[in-house]
Each structure stands twice: as structure tokens, then as C-alpha cells.
């Protein structure tokens, strides 16, 4: 089999992994600390790393996976030399920022990890490659191998795959929850130790300097958004993860336990989960603030921040000339950059709407929640106007069938029935009415 065919097969096997970031490693020139996208594929996702499998041979039979052992497809593997050569040549031409290496399980988890370590070792120490490396550990591999992998890679990740233990037992019978969480804990501890050692001795070996990440599949199992968000919050808190990635389930293989093959991936739901995730990581929201036991689904029509805001109208309006940074961050339309700019700029003069606009604050949503020097709190809007302005136009560009992919959303709030032929304007009006009345 020639290199072209191998690359095609092994890319096809790896492409459902969502993570393709390269941030966190600080080696000036060799990596960009903030991450750097080298291209964007036709699905709009960024291509930063050469994302391939070492092999797509697999002894596991996870129901949702293209590489499952019962799937009849062509199998192949890179030799470590081939992989290293490809990475170096791509990196040299500035096609990529580094390598994302995952793998099917060949013979045993330990054997596969040894192969991966060998390939990475070759790349780092024979070819002197110091670009970014993101490596996936194999569930069930021994701790010593995880440690060696962490010393070679910038970021190590263990996929949690499914949000709950029941789903995991049902759909990934070979993966045990402990086999996923144990290496996660190990990586978290080892990275912490390595940071401490480096504070004492600068040349101490770095263990996964860019931290660890994980991924879970959305929509293949009946777990609710609340469960997912809670799990993510726990992972951020307990294992100091840098990112949790959510991947809308894409039917790759047929199975009676899974959604049908013509099932549309729940892209809107995935989008809302990412928004909620960002609120937790960068805006100081807690999982309990975004969702709760009796409201377990994210609102498809409003982004989570707007949803929180219209449900907590008593916290607004916020005075941009006086409010604390954390309070500003809670205003829909004001993000970390705008909030920091406001805090700097207001030391040198009072801010009105025109100033905010020139500073790059998006007033489309923020205007309903702020008070500025020429924007008194008397300028309140009624709920209908507010909600109408906040309804996310993206909802309709995703297609109305996306709404039905929110478990329980339509029954909970009597939102307009999905799938009916209707004009976008009509759908918005109806949404506004029922959201405003539910507030």
C-alpha cells in the first residue's frame, strides 16, 4: 500500500476526533503559545495538526466508532519512519503546527502505546522535531507507558467518550470508566508535579506542558445537557483539564443501539454545549447557574448567556462605568476582551454608547442590559422586545430539524413544533411569545 492510500485511510479513521488545537506549548518559533490554525476544512473546522491514527487495526468493538473491530473496512498502519517523515515535511512547508496522534488498539493497549511512544521518540530525538504533539492515550494501558507518553507530547488526552457509565457499558463494552479516569488522574498529578519540579530546577523534564483534554460524543446516548455540563465542570475542577470537546454524533456504522444512519448530527446542540462550556471556563459561570435539575436542556433559541440574563433580569441593568469586571462579563454581548477594554477606558472618561461602539463592544445584545453615560436605565424594553432581539438567528440557519434533537426541549417549554414548513419570521414570533410568557 502506498503512502497516499495509508494517509487517506488513517485520516478517515481519526477525523471524528474534535480536538485540533495547538495552544499551551511555549517554544518560541516552534509552536505558537496561543495556537495557530493552518487551514480550515470544508466543514469549517480548523486544521492545525496532522491528525492521523498510527493504525486503524482495533481489537475493541465500540459501537459508535468507525474503527470498531466488527466494521468491515481496509486496515493499515504507519511505520514510525513514514509518520515521522510525513510530519517533518508537512511542518517544513508550514502546512501544520505539529502532530495529533491517536490509534486503534493493536494486540493490546500496552503494545499500541509502545508503538506510539516509539514513533514520538523517533520524531523528537532522531529528527529533532519540536513542533506541537498531541497524543491520545489508550484506555487500559499501564501507568508507566502513560508517563513516557506524557514526557514526549505537549498535550495528552484520554477520551471519556460518553457522558455516563450506563452509556459507556452499552456502547463501548471494552472501555471501563475506571480505565478512562485513572490515567486522567495520573496525568493531572504528574503535570502538577512536573510544574513544581520545574520551579526548583529549570531543566526538569516537562510532563504534558499543554495539559490534557478530553472528548465526549453528544447525541448517541440519552444523557441530558445538564448531566454533560455537570460532568464537564467536574472534569475541569477535579482533573484540571484544559478543554472538554463535544462531538455531535455522526452515524458512521449501523447498530440497533444507535440512532439510525440517516440521523442528522445534532450540530446546534453541540454549539450550545460549547457556548455553555466557554461560560464555565472564561466567564465565571457555574454549571448549576446554566442548567438545573428541573431545566435539564439548553435552550435552542437563546444562547446560554442570554438565557441566564433574561431569567435574572433583577441583576440588570449593569452600569458600564462602575460595574466590576466579573459583573460586566455576565452581560450578553460583552466578552473578556470588551470587558477588559471597558475597565481600562473608563479610568480616563465616562463611557457612552458611541464610545462603547468604537471600542468594539457589540451593542446588539448588550444594549438591553447596560447603563451608560448617555443610556439611562429608564430606557428599558419590555420582555417581548428583549427576547425578540436575543433569539439567535443561527437557530434557523442550522435548519429547523435541529430543534427536535434537543431531548425534551419541545415538550418542556411548548416551543414551536419542529419540522413544520413555516417562514423564519413566523417561527421567531412564536418563539418570542412562548419564551417571554415562560419567563
Amino acid at each position: 500500500m502506498d503512502l497516499m492510500e495509508k494517509l487517506t485511510i488513517l485520516t478517515n479513521g481519526a477525523k471524528y476526533d474534535a480536538a485540533c488545537t495547538s495552544s499551551g506549548a511555549d517554544r518560541p518559533g516552534k509552536t505558537v503559545a496561543a495556537g495557530c490554525c493552518h487551514a480550515f476544512s470544508a466543514d469549517g473546522r480548523c486544521v492545525t495538526l496532522l491528525k492521523v491514527l498510527l493504525t486503524n487495526h482495533c481489537i475493541f468493538d465500540c459501537k459508535y466508532c468507525v474503527n470498531r473491530s466488527s466494521n468491515d473496512c481496509r486496515r493499515t498502519a504507519f511505520t514510525p519512519e513514514e509518520l515521522a517523515g510525513l510530519t517533518i515535511e508537512f511542518y517544513r512547508r508550514n502546512y501544520i503546527e505539529g502532530l495529533f496522534l491517536s490509534s486503534g488498539v493493536m494486540r493490546s493497549p500496552d503494545y499500541t502505546m509502545e508503538q506510539m511512544i516509539q514513533a514520538l521518540h523517533l520524531l523528537r530525538y532522531r529528527y529533532d522535531f519540536w513542533g506541537y504533539i498531541h497524543a491520545k492515550t489508550i484506555p487500559g494501558a499501564s501507568p508507566e507507558l502513560v508517563r513516557r507518553l506524557g514526557l514526549l507530547a505537549d498535550r495528552v488526552s484520554v477520551n471519556i467518550e460518553l457522558p455516563s457509565e450506563e452509556s459507556l457499558r452499552l456502547l463501548a463494552p471494552h472501555k471501563k470508566r475506571e480505565a478512562i479516569l485513572a490515567p486522567m488522574k495520573q496525568i493531572c498529578l504528574a503535570a502538577g508535579e512536573s510544574r513544581q519540579e520545574m520551579a526548583v530546577y529549570k531543566k526538569a523534564p516537562q510532563f504534558a506542558p499543554a495539559g490534557q483534554a478530553t472528548q465526549m460524543i453528544i447525541g448517541a446516548s440519552p444523557d441530558t445537557d445538564y448531566q454533560i455540563i455537570r460532568l464537564a465542570a467536574a472534569l475541569y475542577g477535579k482533573y484540571a483539564l484544559k478543554r472538554v470537546f463535544y462531538s455531535a454524533y455522526i452515524p458512521a456504522v449501523a447498530d440497533s443501539l444507535l440512532p439510525a444512519l440517516d440521523f442528522k448530527p445534532p450540530l446546534l446542540r453541540e454549539h450550545r454545549l460549547y457556548q455553555a462550556d466557554f461560560l464555565m471556563r472564561q466567564y465565571g459561570f457555574g454549571a448549576e447557574e446554566i442548567l438545573s435539575e428541573d431545566m435539564p436542556s439548553l435552550n435552542p433559541y437563546l444562547d446560554p448567556k442570554c438565557n441566564w440574563a433574561v431569567n435574572h433580569m433583577q441583576e440588570f441593568p449593569v452600569d458600564v462605568n462602575a460595574a466590576a469586571l466579573e459583573t460586566l462579563l455576565r452581560v450578553p454581548g460583552i466578552g473578556p476582551t470588551s470587558a477588559r477594554r471597558i475597565v481600562v477606558a473608563r479610568r480616563h472618561g465616562r463611557l457612552g454608547l458611541a464610545e462603547l461602539k468604537r471600542m468594539g463592544v457589540v451593542l446588539k445584545r448588550a444594549q438591553y442590559f447596560i447603563r451608560a453615560s448617555d443610556w439611562p436605565s429608564g430606557a428599558r424594553f419590555d420582555k417581548h422586545t428583549t427576547v425578540r432581539a436575543l433569539v439567535d438567528p443561527n437557530v434557523f440557519s442550522f435548519g429547523t430539524e435541529q430543534l427536535s434533537l434537543f431531548p425534551g426541549a419541545s415538550s418542556l417549554r411548548q416551543l414551536p413544533e419542529a419540522g413544520e414548513a413555516r417562514s423564519v419570521a413566523e417561527a421567531v414570533e412564536e418563539t418570542v411569545l412562548c419564551l417571554a410568557s415562560n419567563l
Binding site: 473546522r45 463611557l351 468604537r358 471600542m359
Partner: protein, 262 residues
């Protein structure tokens, strides 16, 4: 500007200068010492004969140095950085906007840089953001081709971004020889024998690419096409993140551009 007597008043005159940053600093000198705010500041090659009085400002290194020092001491280090960056941007009438900023800065001091809601500052900050944003994208979107052992790339950015990406690529390809040719601004970053410089180059003739180079380009194209998931296809999203004006220099997508009408 309430409470401040402006340094220069609007005057019916157009300045022309040689296009260098020093030349621009001399225009600032001229404006402050004659007390006139020109209608426009143009590069000599862009100047059209008009009825408006025009004055050619000669570049004098001593004066330029005085202005540079005055920006540092009377406004701030950040103001000098902002003006230097804005000078490389593609802001319309950038010289005049920068002059307005400096004249205000001499009166108001260091705080002007923090008045991000102010029109003169906001304009320059926007230009700076545009340039730095483009430079960041280019760090990813530059595509090198191996030509006889040296790496060659072409870019066509809107801003003069070459000085802002030079450090990144020099650090990354320390052991290589490479050239990045900026088609829009007629300049090239050349790095060889551990020395980098930016040269004025109008055009570059590239030799035919070799067989092994063609193979790596094909492998990259195949990887790029394969890694996309069909059921998530979203061309709009791709264009937002990777505007089409970059595509002509990127081997994996240049084939998707409609061929230009002859």
C-alpha cells in the same frame, strides 16, 4: 478637544513625503512648527497635480529622531508603537489619522492611548488590530514550496504584514533558507546564512516545482480533503475563518477558486 488649544489648525495645503516612516515623522515636525494641519499627506508617487498648494517635505534624519524622541517622552512608548504599527497598516489616509493622533497626544499625554472610545485612538487601534490579525492568520496560511533546498512562499496581504511575521518564521526555520514574497507591497523577506532582511522586490520568477515537491503537495491536498466530515459541511464557516483572498496562495484550496475570466 475642549480645554486644549490645538497645536495645528486646518490649512489648505497637501504634504508630500518620500513614503518612509522617517519621512512621515518629518511631516509631523513640519505640521507642528508651521502650526498647520494639512488636508492630506501623500506619498510622492501617489501625488496628483491639483490646484491645492502642495509642499514636499524633505526627509531629515535629525528631525525624525527629534520627533521620535518627543513621542516617547511627551506621550508614551506605547504611542510610538501604535503609530509605527499603524504606519504599516492599510488604513485609508493613515498619515493624516496618525498626525491627528500625535497632535492630540502632545497635548493630552500618555492617557490618550487608553482612551479607547476616542475617535482618533479608536481608528488607529482598529488599524492595528486589523494588521496584527492578518499577521496572525498569515503565520498559519503561508505555504512554502521546496525549490532546490530553499523554501519559497508568496503572500498577498492587505497590510504590510511582513515585518510582523518575520520573527516567527526566522525562529521556526532557523536551519533553512527561505523567502516570503509579498506581492501587494513588492517586498520579500529573505533568510539565509542565519541572516534575515526585507528587500524591495517587484516580482519573483519561480522555477517549476520538482516531483517530490508535487508529491507532498498532493499528499497535503489529500489529507485536507479527507479530514473534513461530509455531514458537517459548512462552506460559510470555512470562509469566515479563512477568507477567500488568502486562497490563491494556498495549494490545497487554490483549485476551488473560480478561474479568473480571461
Amino acid at each position: 478637544m475642549p480645554g486644549f488649544k490645538p497645536l495645528a489648525l486646518p490649512a489648505n495645503v497637501v504634504y508630500t513625503y518620500d513614503g518612509s516612516f522617517e519621512g512621515f515623522l518629518c511631516c509631523v515636525f513640519e505640521s507642528v512648527y508651521s502650526g498647520e494641519l494639512p488636508l492630506e499627506i501623500l506619498r510622492e508617487e501617489d501625488a496628483q497635480p491639483t490646484l491645492i498648494q502642495s509642499r514636499s517635505v524633505a526627509t531629515d534624519p535629525v528631525r525624525a529622531e527629534r520627533v521620535r524622541a518627543s513621542i516617547r517622552s511627551k506621550i508614551s512608548e506605547r504611542a510610538l508603537e501604535l503609530v509605527t504599527t499603524a504606519f504599516c497598516s492599510c488604513l485609508a489616509q493613515k498619515e493624516l489619522r496618525m498626525l491627528e493622533f500625535l497632535l492630540r497626544g502632545y497635548r493630552e499625554g500618555a492617557k490618550l492611548c487608553f482612551m479607547m472610545g476616542d475617535d482618533v485612538t479608536a481608528t488607529l487601534l482598529r488599524a492595528e488590530k486589523h494588521l496584527l490579525g492578518e499577521a496572525h492568520l498569515l503565520k498559519g496560511f503561508v505555504r512554502f514550496a521546496d525549490v532546490g533546498g530553499a523554501l519559497v512562499a508568496t503572500i498577498s496581504p492587505k497590510n504590510y504584514a511582513l515585518p510582523f511575521i518575520a520573527r516567527h518564521f526566522v525562529l521556526r526555520y532557523r536551519q533553512e533558507r527561505f523567502m516570503i514574497f509579498d506581492k501587494t507591497n513588492g517586498a520579500a523577506l529573505v533568510y539565509q546564512d542565519c541572516k534575515a532582511e526585507i528587500l524591495r522586490v517587484e516580482r519573483v520568477e519561480l522555477p517549476e516545482i520538482s516531483e517530490s515537491e508535487a508529491q507532498y503537495q498532493a499528499l497535503w491536498k489529500r489529507f485536507y480533503d479527507t479530514v473534513s466530515i461530509e455531514s458537517r459541511e459548512n462552506p460559510r464557516c470555512r470562509m469566515t475563518h479563512m477568507p477567500k483572498r488568502y486562497w490563491e496562495n494556498m495549494s490545497e484550496v487554490c483549485g476551488l477558486l473560480r478561474p479568473k475570466a480571461e
